[in-house]
Structures are given as structure tokens and as C-alpha cells.
Symmetry: C2
Amino acid sequence: MDLTDIRDLYRERGKFAGKEVTIGGWIRSIRDSKTFGFIVVNDGTFFEPLQIVYSDKLDNFEQISKLNVGSAIIVRGTIVETPDAKQPFELQAEEIEVEGLSTADYPLQKKRHSFEYLRTVSHLRPRTNTFQAVFRVRSLIAYAIHTFFMERGFVYVHTPLITGSDCEGAGEMFQVTTMDLDNIPKNEDGSIDFSKDFFGKATNLTVSGQLNVESYAFAFKNVYTFGPTFRAENSNTTRHAAEFWMIEPEIAFADLKDDMILAESMLKHVIRYVLENAKEEMNFFNQFVDKGLIERLTHVRNSDFGRVTYTEAIKILEQHNDEFEYKVFWGCDLQTEHERFLTEQEFKRPVFVTDYPKEIKAFYMKLNEDGKTVAAMDCLVPGIGEIIGGSQREDKLELLEKRMEELELNKEDYDFYLDLRKYGSVRHAGFGLGFERCVMYLTGMGNIRDVVPFPRTVKNCDL
Amino acid sequence: MDLTDIRDLYRERGKFAGKEVTIGGWIRSIRDSKTFGFIVVNDGTFFEPLQIVYSDKLDNFEQISKLNVGSAIIVRGTIVETPDAKQPFELQAEEIEVEGLSTADYPLQKKRHSFEYLRTVSHLRPRTNTFQAVFRVRSLIAYAIHTFFMERGFVYVHTPLITGSDCEGAGEMFQVTTMDLDNIPKNEDGSIDFSKDFFGKATNLTVSGQLNVESYAFAFKNVYTFGPTFRAENSNTTRHAAEFWMIEPEIAFADLKDDMILAESMLKHVIRYVLENAKEEMNFFNQFVDKGLIERLTHVRNSDFGRVTYTEAIKILEQHNDEFEYKVFWGCDLQTEHERFLTEQEFKRPVFVTDYPKEIKAFYMKLNEDGKTVAAMDCLVPGIGEIIGGSQREDKLELLEKRMEELELNKEDYDFYLDLRKYGSVRHAGFGLGFERCVMYLTGMGNIRDVVPFPRTVKNCDL
């Protein structure tokens, strides 16, 4: 159908003044007096709606005036500039066609609804201002991430979702099976006979694509994943979802310093992209969701990120132990309160904390020369704490095997991963960015359920 | 690390002649005589490798000459143009550092390996010519798809992977559970107590995001998904995988004609993008994998796709029934042999077949006025048959409900989907493109296992 997008009416304004256009969209509000009326319409292509003026010159004036909010209409008319009004122009209707009716009990009335309520209508909430903004920005962030990596020659790799191995021995996993749960096939000794399952073995949903993608970094040098990952953690918080998307770049011939440069450039690129390409949405968040958001993001974009070792950071934090719920000491994991103190109070800008004790980090991280710490980095940002976690990887076969033995990992499960250290091993590094956390950070939205189209959390898998 | 990518040496050639550069990469082959030698190195940033010349002026000449294929090295030297040689330039080494050794039993020796063998080393095969080409092109196709939609203002939507519903009642699904399979919780009547499962209900892996994304088309007008989907089908063919990626655009205020225009533009965009941005890889496929590939794709890019109704197509095909294994008749499903006949013999270009009998299509497709056919379209391309399937969706509540009753679908499971027809329903359409099938089509690769980094098929979930 030959319709003009409301986005184009705004973005290419001058072009349309006095011209006839036809638009299609959904009614956000409608009011009429005896001989004329106003309809506010949104067609989903732009955050700002379009005001339509119609009069009783229309044959169907009565019908139109009775339309409910949510109805879909197609309007032919003339664009008239309105320099003195709130909106820069309006559409004077010559014809209004009803495409689809709505009802008086349409769940999204003009009043403001709570986010909690809107979660119960996740198929309708993207029609509201807040969720129009959230999900358009989510889409733009995803694209900004792809453009960032592709323009730098990275290869995008789809690592598998169904996996026979448990990446880090970390995180609870979802099992995937086609076995009849009412009648699980058993071996003679009573154990489950996974040879009867679809893949002939026990399988799970992945918690990370990192180990797989490392093998691609050793073929393409610079690669990244961007795909769903899963955690079956029974944690009902505003920051955890069972299904979420993750970005995991992996770079070869690179060390921890290169990794931090990459992470900093990526974050700045994404912030810049969104501020430039979602002005209306970002202004909305800044005004109604998180005052100070734009200033904070602009500050981050313009800062040189700080660097501090874990050991130095602990010294700084120990001086403020009386202010913390959890007291810090060398060897402890940093809590959000500590992370936010470092980035907000101490550095007043984003900061990388590096070289963590090996005991609190994953087996594949490169051991430093001190034998105690590993070449890991967490990127902390104001307002949220950790947003990125990464490391240089252990590229020496002997050291990696030794660490796996210490942790009693079964080396046979990691044959392919050890192969990478046998055949042309190179220094390499990477990081993980939780996509939803990134969306929350850039929009100021406080609950992960409100930045995922159809969120999956404990006891919740609707639609 | 401050290395020059081999890609830049090729792409910005003039710039480097006579200049000193440092590169890092993996040895593809090495040969030496008494006083000098040649190493062919690939660093993963470009399809073509770099030739390195070294001599016994290097302190470690002996060590270098003994390196095995697959070793990683860092080379500092000078770029010298070689207008009379096979390769346009070479690197004369002043220093070669060994980054990581390989072994004499490195699984990728210089000889040609079969695709079957290479599937057994899926973590190493991207280091071979064929799979360098396949997976770089796969990455470029993914990006071409994103740019196509984003440049047209589409919103990218992440539809859920774990779902409580079975989209079309079609396709075998994988179950997702955290229940102890050794001790499944039961209700008093002996049935499984899914209230004890992670989501409090039975859940599966999605077979399509379409129904979910329709609700976003009714908010943003033009949207698309690009994510993994799953089929637990026990079919061991060259075209089926249990886990694959799918692209599903959905457009509102649009009919079947708009849908076909979109599909045709998208395919042409992707072909153009890959031919322009992966010249070396496409030439390789054309020469070694599928002779005639580039000509075929160029022809498709330059063709106006044909249009034929299913009913007309059946008439055409019936005249050739003696040539087919499966005889056609009105009402039958088209087989690949029929599809290829239409696009290769009859139309000699891509063709949309439209308006299929409702019985062989999904419940949500819009019923045509004849009451017998639906506004569906399949896009058939030479060399492969169906590559895209789509339809206009039924937007009338009564008709959709009637069709669901005929098919004995449980309406309560589709509450949200019916809501879309209650509140501002609009004409809309969409299609699905199997990403792997698209990669096979553009590369000429014949087995889906060879276009997925880590393929998942019946009884196969390695790495």
C-alpha cells in the first residue's frame, strides 16, 4: 500500500508542506466538537505522533467521531505547517477510511499505565510511548553493535544454542530433550539412557558462546557472537532473565590492553549512535524515566575510561569499609555497591578494574606472572556498576591444563579447546556484554522485564 | 598489538609498497632451500594469503625452517611489489617471531581434505580456504540482511526462544526443562507436575517467531526477527538442521503484493552486497564449489521475478507429469522437482507462486475471496527451489476464529493473537527466510552442515 511514513513527514519536513499525503496508523486519542475533530495517530515509524484535523465535510464524520482509541485508520489529506502550535504541522483530512476497529475496553486507554500492568499485555505494550521508545532503541543498539564490529572487519559467528557441554561449569542450565518425560528410557542399571535422546546424549541450552568462538578467532583473528544465552537461575530480581542476548567479541594477536580499548570504543560507539539516531526517544527517557540520563551518557562518551588493578581498588575501598554493607578484603568478589563507589565516587567516570585473584575468576583466564592474579577486566560504569566482563585467555597449553586439574575439570570435555593451544596458539582476549543490561543502561529502564519483548523469568513464560 | 591486517595490504595496496609492516598469522605452507625460504601466511582478515620471503640473514633461520604448518608467527619486514609473480606483492622478512608452535600431526595438512573429514574438526575447519570463504560470507550475508531492513526503518525484534506454545501446531519441538529427569515430579493422578518446572508449565524451543512478531508489526508497522529456531525432526538430509537461524519480516498496512516486493528487494540486496563485498570468496566458490554460481546470482539480481498462481502453475506442471517422480494435481504440495521445473525450465528466473489451497497452508493465512485458496506466496529460485515462504495474514477476527475451529486449534492458546484482530487490526503480511538455506544458495555449498559453524543434527551435537 502506498502510504507515507510519519517518520518521513518529520525527517524531511519542508518537502511535504501543502502536499497531499496518505498515511495509515493507530488512534492514540480522539476528540471532537460538533463540526470538527482532532485525532492523534501513531504509525510506529516515529516516536512523535501526527495530529489529524477533520471536519463534518467528511461523509463519515459521525462514524469517525465514534471511533475508539486503538482503531486503525487510513487518512488522505494535506500537510499544513502550524508554526504557532505545539506540533510543527498537522494533516487536514480529506478522507478517512477505517482499516480496523477497536473496542471501548481496549486495554491501553489514554491514561498512564504502570509498567507492572503493561507486563500483563506484552503483545500490546509496544504501542505505548515508553515501550515504543524502549524497543526502537533496543533495535538501534543491536544495529550499532553490528556496525561497530563489521566496519572493523570482524566476522559475526553464530555459536550453537544447544550444547553437550557446560561452558564454565558455571550457571544452572536448562536441559533440552525429546524424550517422553512420562516414560524416560533407562539403561539396565537404572540410569537414564541418553542414547535414546535426539542427539544421543544429554544436552543443555548454552550459557556462553565463548569457548566455541575462540576457535573462530584463531581462524579469522577478530570475531564476535551476538545471540541468545540462558540461565536457569532461580533469582527473581530486576536484573536477571532466564533468556537474554549476549555479545562476545574475541580477538587474536591481542592482550588485555587491546581488549579494554575494544570495549571502550564499542561502548562509546553505541552511545554516540543512539544519541544521534534516537533523539526523540532519548529525550523522552531523560524527561520521564531517568533524569540526567543524557548528561551521564554524554559524559561517558567523552571520558577516557580509568584503569585500576583489583589490588589497588581493594586498598581504596578498604578505607570506606564503614560505608559498605559487605566489607571488602583482598580476595573478595566486588559487589555492586563497591563497583558503583569506584566509578561514581572515586573515578567519577567509567573504570576498568583489572587483574583479579584467580580464585574468583574462570579457569580460562590468563595467569599473571605473580601466579596469584589473572589478566581479567571488568568495566564499571556510573549508575549501574559492571557492564562488561572480559579477560585475556590462557594461551599456554601446560598452564591451562594445570589450572583445569586444580579445578578438577574433565579435560576430555575440553579436547577441542586444548587443541587451540596445540596448533598455533596465539595471545588472545575477549569480553562479554549482556545486551539487555546495555539496553537498560542506555534507556535508564530499571527492570530487565521492560527491555525484553517477551521476558522469560522464574515461573513466567507467557506468550 | 600493533599489527597490520593482510586485508589492508590488499585493499590499500599502493600505500604499503616499500614500507615496513608487522603482521601476525598462521602458516599455511612453508618451503626452504639452504639460504632462503617461503612461507604462506593467512591472518584471517582476508581470503588471499601473504607470501613471506626469509633468508639465512635471520638469526633463527634454522628454527623457522623447521616450523610446522599451523604455527603462528609475527613477521616484521618490507612490502615489495612483485608485478611478474603470481601474487601482487610479498613481505621480505627482517624478523620472524614464533607466537605459537604447531605439531607435525596438525590435522589440516596442505593436501585437500574432504568436507566429511573437516566436519570432524569443526573447531579447525574455518582455517581452510573453503570454510574461510563460507563463514566470512555467512557473516556478510547476516549483515546485509540487517542493513537492508534497518536502512528501511524496520525495527529488529528479539522474539523468545523458550516458549509455552506451539506456534503452528507444526514441527516437532524440543522440550526445555529443569526438572530432575531421574525423578520427575508427579501430580496425584500420575501426570507430570509442570508447576514444579522452572517456568511453572511445559515449555519448548520455538519453531517460529512469527506470531509474536505480528504484535510488534501492529506497533512499529515494519519489523523483523533474525534469530535461532529449532526443529526436532528426525530427518537426516543435507538440508535439515535441528538448530538454524531464521529471518521473519512482518509488515503492517501491507498485502501480499507488498510482501513479494519486499522479498524480491531483500534477495537482490543480499546478492548485490555479497558479490561486491566478498569478491575473492565468490570467485573461489564459482571456481571450486559451484561452477556457474556467479552467473546464476547475477542473473537473479537482474531479473524481474515472475508471478504465477498455484492454479496456473499446476496447469503448467500437469503437462509434464511424465517427467516427475511425484505427479501433480490441484491440491497437492509442490515438491522440489516441481519447484525447480517452474523456476529453471518454465520461467528461467525466480518466480513467486501464489494463492495456494488453504488445506496445505497454515491457519493464519488470509483466505481469498474464492474461499478455497489463501494469500500465500513461495519464492522459487533456480538451483534450489523454494527459498522464501510467506503470506498475507488473516486480519478479520471472525474468519480467523472460524479457521481455527475448523482445524480444532485451542483458541485460548492464541488469546494474544486474536487480540491483535480486536484492537485496530490492519492488513499485514510477512515471510520467512531460512538463513542457512540462503547461505547455501549464495555459496553453492550443498550440505547445511557445511554452512553452520557447529551444526546440530540427529545424533550429532559435538562441541
